[in-house]
Each structure stands twice: as C-alpha cells, then as structure tokens.
C-alpha cells in the first residue's frame, strides 16, 4: 500500500484528454469475447479428445474454429488498412502484446481450422472433396487438436496484457489481475457454449470448467478492483460499462446456480449456458469501454498520476520526476 498523499484539486487543460483512446470499435470487444470462447473451446476439445467424448470434441472444435475465424475477421475489419493485415506477421516483437498475440492467433486458428475440417468431413460421412489429402488430414488431426489446446489459454489471456500494456488509465491500473478476469471469463463462456451444444452426459467437464470460471471471475473482479487506484476504477461503474458489469454479476449468478443445481437437465444446462455466454460478453464489453472512457476524461489520467507522484515525494523519493528544476 502506498501511503495516502495530499493531492491538490486537479487542474487540466480545458478538460481535454491527456491521453488518446485507441480507435478501436466494437469489433475489438467482440474479438475479446470470441477469442476467449475459442481458446476455452480448444481446451475442452483437447480434453474430450483425450477422454474419448466424440460429441463434445466435435462441437468444441467447431466452436474453436468459428470463434477464431470470426474473431480474426473482426480484428482485420477494425484495422485502418485492412489490406495490410499480413504486416502483423512481418516481425516477432516481444515488447508488443499485439505482435505476440497475432502469432498466437495465427497458430491457434491454423490448428483449430485443421481439426475442425476433419470433424466436418467425418460428420458429413467423408463427403468433403479432399481426395488423397484425407489420410493426411486424419493423421495430423490429433496433433492439431493438441496444438489448438496448447494455444487456447494464451489466446484467451493475452488480450488482458494487450489492454493493460497501454496508457489508458483503467486498463493499465487493472494490470495485476485483468489476466485472471479474462481467463475466468473465457472458461465460463466456453463451458457455457458446450452446455448448449452438447448432451449432458458428455458435458460434465464443461459444466465443471464453467463453475470454476464463475468462481474465478467473481473473485478476480473483486480483487482487481480492490487493487486499482480508486479513481482509475471509477469508469468500471459509470455509464454503459457500469450497466454491463452489473449484468455480468446477475448473469453469473443465474448461470452459475443453474449449472450447479440443474446442470444435469438438458434444458436448464442450455439456459445456464446462454446466461454464462452473456456474462462473459458483458465483462469483455464492459472492461473494453471502461478503458476507452477513462481516456476521454483527463481526471482519470491526472489524479492517479498526481497521487503516486506525491506519494513518492512524501516518501522522500524525488529522483524520478519528469518535472525538475535545473
């Protein structure tokens, strides 16, 4: 804990923003959600592959493929120059979560795509015009399943690093715990989706994962807020993000209880799954827009910075200020 410091009433330049919000639109929030669903689904598919649950495996693989495909499309659509999306793969840059994330997404999508095509082919009674490629496909299928599973958790979680590694006050202040919120959200969303698509006797692991996700999400969101600068946390409670994150709580309650009590009933499981998917979407959109909003009011940039600066000064640490005399 930093000691409480005296912060003078805040001033700004005509109330104009100090930092600029990125030009990201709802496509990016959609991707945050879909990337989580896809990543979690690939993990479920891998588990189903290893424990011989063919229906869960097929459905989760399709979800992983569709989620990453639609998510990638949304990402590309949000670029200023969509035709240059391949420039993302010009380099591998460890200081850029966007760069590492692009590589994770490409690897994941490739693996998930191969596994899903093989599933579709089997589902349609080997009717895809694959010719001699079919035996190749069947041979690499299990390995693609493993690959997608390995990259599932990174895909679900890297977006938290991407958001925190910015100067947007709310995202940056959440950096300790946002990854935990995001992987929990991904777990409960992918579990929820499997509860909708898959009969109950194969979907028990999906229900358990969803419950773990609900518990993790509730705890992580509480811990996250308690560790954030109180001013930087404010946008999480205001306007649209505030409403969305309230709905997260309600839907988590409904979905979590439904799964726990009635998860063995197909209809209850499906309704709970819908609630969980909704909860995850609300979390992602809520956190996303809270960060954008925090850039638009200079108070969220200036007050926390002032506070930490004054706290350091009060503690006698004066060598690291950007303002100096001489």
């Amino acid at each position: 804990m930093v000691p409480d410091a005296q912060v003078e009433p805040y001033t700004s330049y005509y109330g104009r923003p100090v930092v600029k919000a990125p030009p990201w639109k709802k496509e990016i929030a959609t991707y945050l959600f879909l990337g989580g669903v896809a990543g979690g689904s690939a993990l479920l598919a891998l588990g189903a592959q290893l424990t011989d649950r063919p229906i869960l495996r097929r459905n989760a693989r399709l979800a992983a493929m569709l989620g990453s495909a639609v998510g990638s499309t949304a990402l590309i659509a949000d670029l200023g120059r969509p035709e240059r999306f391949l420039h993302m793969l010009r380099t591998i840059k460890p200081t850029s979560p966007m760069s590492l994330g692009s590589w994770v997404l490409v690897t994941f999508s490739t693996c998930a795509g191969v596994a899903a095509v093989s599933e579709v082919d089997r589902w349609t009674g080997s009717r895809l015009p694959l010719g001699p490629l079919r035996c190749v496909l069947r041979a690499v299928e299990p390995w693609s399943g493993v690959g997608a599973g390995l990259f599932g958790a990174p895909l679900a979680g890297y977006t938290a690093v991407l958001l925190s590694d910015t100067a947007m006050p709310t995202w940056n202040a959440a950096r300790e715990d946002l990854p935990f919120v995001f992987v929990s959200s991904a777990s409960l969303a992918s579990g929820g989706l499997a509860m909708i698509t898959t009969p109950v006797d194969e979907a028990l692991p999906a229900r358990l994962l969803a419950l773990a996700g609900v518990a993790g999400d509730v705890v992580a969101q509480k811990v996250m807020e308690s560790r954030m600068d109180p001013v930087a946390a404010e946008p999480l409670h205001q306007g649209t993000p505030g409403v969305l994150l309230k709905w997260t709580e309600r839907l988590l309650l409904v979905g979590g209880l439904g799964t726990l009590v009635g998860g063995g009933n197909r209809a209850v499981a499906a309704v709970s799954g819908v609630a969980l998917l909704g909860a995850s979407a609300c979390t992602r959109f809520g956190v996303f827009y809270a960060g954008l909003n925090s850039a638009r009011d200079p108070r969220y940039t200036i007050e926390p910075q002032r506070r930490r600066l004054e706290a350091r000064r009060a503690a006698g640490q004066t060598g690291d200020s950007i303002t100096t005399v001489g």
Partner: protein, 348 residues
C-alpha cells in the same frame, strides 16, 4: 523491454553502429509569443490535412485543440490571474525545496541551432521578467501561458514498443518515426503513448479550402495509418533544421543535439529562478523519469497538467514483463482447471 540505454542515447538501444548524436527540441515556453508559426510551418512542410471544422473552441486563442494525426505542433494558451500565478510560483518553490535534481547552470558556450534564446528577462509568456535577483519578483496581475507542444520523442517510447508491425522505428538521430507504407492502422500505438500524441489519420488527402493546386506526389493518401511528428526526418537527412524550429521567430523552439539543449535548458531555468520566476521548471530533462527522459525538453511555467501534459507519465512497457508473468500464471491456471474438470468428470 525498454531498458535504460547506458549512455542516454536510445540509438545505442536500437543497435546503430554509426553513432549520430541524439537530436531533439528545447521548447522554452517563457519566450513563446503564441504566433502559431510553428503550427503553420509544420502543416505546410508535411502537407498535413486540415484538422477540425474551423470552429472557435472557446479556449483563449487556442482553436487547434490538441495534437493529433493531422496536427503535429499545437500551441496551448492558458489565461491566469495573479492568484494562479502565485500558486505556480509556490509549486515551483516547493520543487526546489524538495531537492529535485539540480545540476546547476553549466558554463555557456553550447552550440544550438537557433541560438540560446533571449538573455536576461524574456518578454514572452512569463511576462517581462524583472532583472532583480530577489527571491520573488512582483506578481503580475495577469498572464498568458503559451506553449508549443510536440511529440516528445521519448527515450523509452510507448508507441514504438507496442507497435506490432515495426512501422514505428528509432532513427539514427534517436527520434521516433512512423513508416506510413508499413503501418496497417491497428491503433495500438495510440493507446501506448502516455502523452496522447500519436493518432490514426482517418482522412488522408491534403485538401485546402481554396483547392490549391498540388503536385501529384503530394496527393498521396495516408488515411488509416498512424501519424505524428517525424522531427522532420527528411530535413534532418539533409542537415536542415526542422520546419517548426526554423520558423519560430522568438527561438522559443530550439533544435539541436540533445545534450547541448539540456545544458541550455538548465541554464535558462536557473536564470529565471534568479529573476524571481520560481514557477520555471523543466519537463522531460530527467533520464530517471517514467519514460527515460524525452528528446523534446520543455521549460514550463506551471504544473504540467495545466498545459495538458501528464504529471507522472510512465511508459506502459516498463511493467510488461511483470504483466506477462501474471498472465502466464493465469493461463496455466486455466489449463489446469480444464485438466481438473476432465479428471473429475472421469473417462466415459
């Protein structure tokens, strides 16, 4: 990951084997007269499109608003009464008593492209400094603060660190520049800049209201890519002074080698303090601050946030290694939770 370059010159971080001196600006806001010649010169030289709709913003003489994709120099105007001025002086005095790093005035004789500013009390935005060496000069009843803001060309640049395509790069002069044929407009750099400088350009054609004739080479669309001050990379290549510094009539914008500029800045702040203008302070001169010091140093006459500058900026990538570790734990937790769910669920 944004390690502190040993010699304070970020080009060594970028592995240039032909050492150029680091270039930068010293913007001395105490002698700025708010003529906006820098804004115009920058627009002209870089053929930047018009910004906004020519409306009056109601912020003193500032109708530009802020730095952005199309505005790479922005002159801020702040009107202050004697009470605000006294507060600014008080906060400056507090900085001194806190024992902020003070290097003292070095001997003069540093070579700076646009000269070393006005000797003695400047008659710029600080009001006419009286030559008295008393602790506090008489407080004026009113003053305008004017400051020409620009990209900071940070030592540890958030924009550059987070750019996934490599479009942003460190030049041999230690500056930070976007390659507009590489940038795909992902917008990550916009969020990565702690100063709100870089922005994605949405409307890429130069078009003046008078529809002036432009050569075809000028009419090249640059919409959808990130844009900001290049520190006139093209002019530097030809050993020319950047357009904004060249045009500044008061030498408020000084361009040169960063170490010379730093010396000039330190000299100037000491001089102003001697004249009783205790509100004078430097911004960006400290290599130990959150961005490792900036290539563009400013002399301010009030707290940074009064000018729209962040009071304690920190390059986000300074915490990245730690955030990745936290994310690694979270991802491992997710994988383990899935494994546990299948173990508990049993084989079928």
């Amino acid at each position: 990951m944004s390690a502190e370059p040993k010699d304070g010159n970020p080009t060594s971080d970028a592995h240039y084997d032909h050492p150029h001196s680091r270039r930068g600006f010293f913007t001395d806001t105490s002698i700025c007269i708010g003529c906006k010649a820098c804004e115009v010169a920058c627009k002209e030289w870089n053929r930047n499109p018009a910004d906004g709709d020519y409306s009056i913003l109601g912020s003193s003489y500032d109708n530009t608003g802020a730095l952005g994709a199309d505005t790479w120099r922005h002159v801020a105007f702040i009107e202050q009464d004697s009470q605000r001025i006294e507060q600014a002086r008080e906060s400056g005095r507090k900085l001194v008593s806190l024992g902020m790093p003070q290097v003292g005035a070095p001997a003069s004789g540093s070579s700076v492209a646009s000269g070393t500013g006005s000797a003695g009390g400047g008659c710029g935005s600080g009001g006419c400094g009286s030559a008295s060496s008393s602790d506090s000069g008489p407080t004026p009843e009113f003053r305008w603060l004017m400051s020409s803001d620009v990209c900071k060309h940070c030592t540890n640049a958030g924009c550059l660190d987070v750019c996934p395509t490599g479009a942003l790069f460190r030049t041999e002069y230690g500056t930070v520049v976007v390659q507009d044929d590489i940038c795909n407009g992902c917008g990550t750099c916009v969020a990565g800049c702690p100063f709100g400088v870089i922005e994605r350009r949405e409307d890429g054609l130069v078009d003046t209201p008078a529809s002036r004739e432009m050569p075809d080479t000028v009419r090249k669309p640059q919409d959808g890519v990130a844009q900001k001050c290049t520190l006139c990379y093209d002019r530097l290549k030809d050993d020319e002074t950047p357009a904004c510094a060249k045009t500044c009539p008061t030498t408020s914008i000084k361009y040169g080698q960063r170490e010379d500029l730093l010396a000039t800045a330190q000299q100037r702040v000491a001089q102003l303090h001697e004249q009783g203008m205790t509100e004078a302070r430097l911004y960006g001169a400290n290599p130990n601050d959150g961005v490792g010091g900036t290539g563009s140093i400013f002399l301010l006459l009030d707290e940074p946030e009064v000018y729209g500058l962040p009071p304690d900026p920190r390059v986000p990538t300074a915490d990245l290694a730690h955030t990745f570790k936290r994310a690694g734990v979270a991802m491992a937790g997710m994988a383990l939770a899935t494994a546990a769910a299948f173990v508990a669920g049993g084989r079928r």
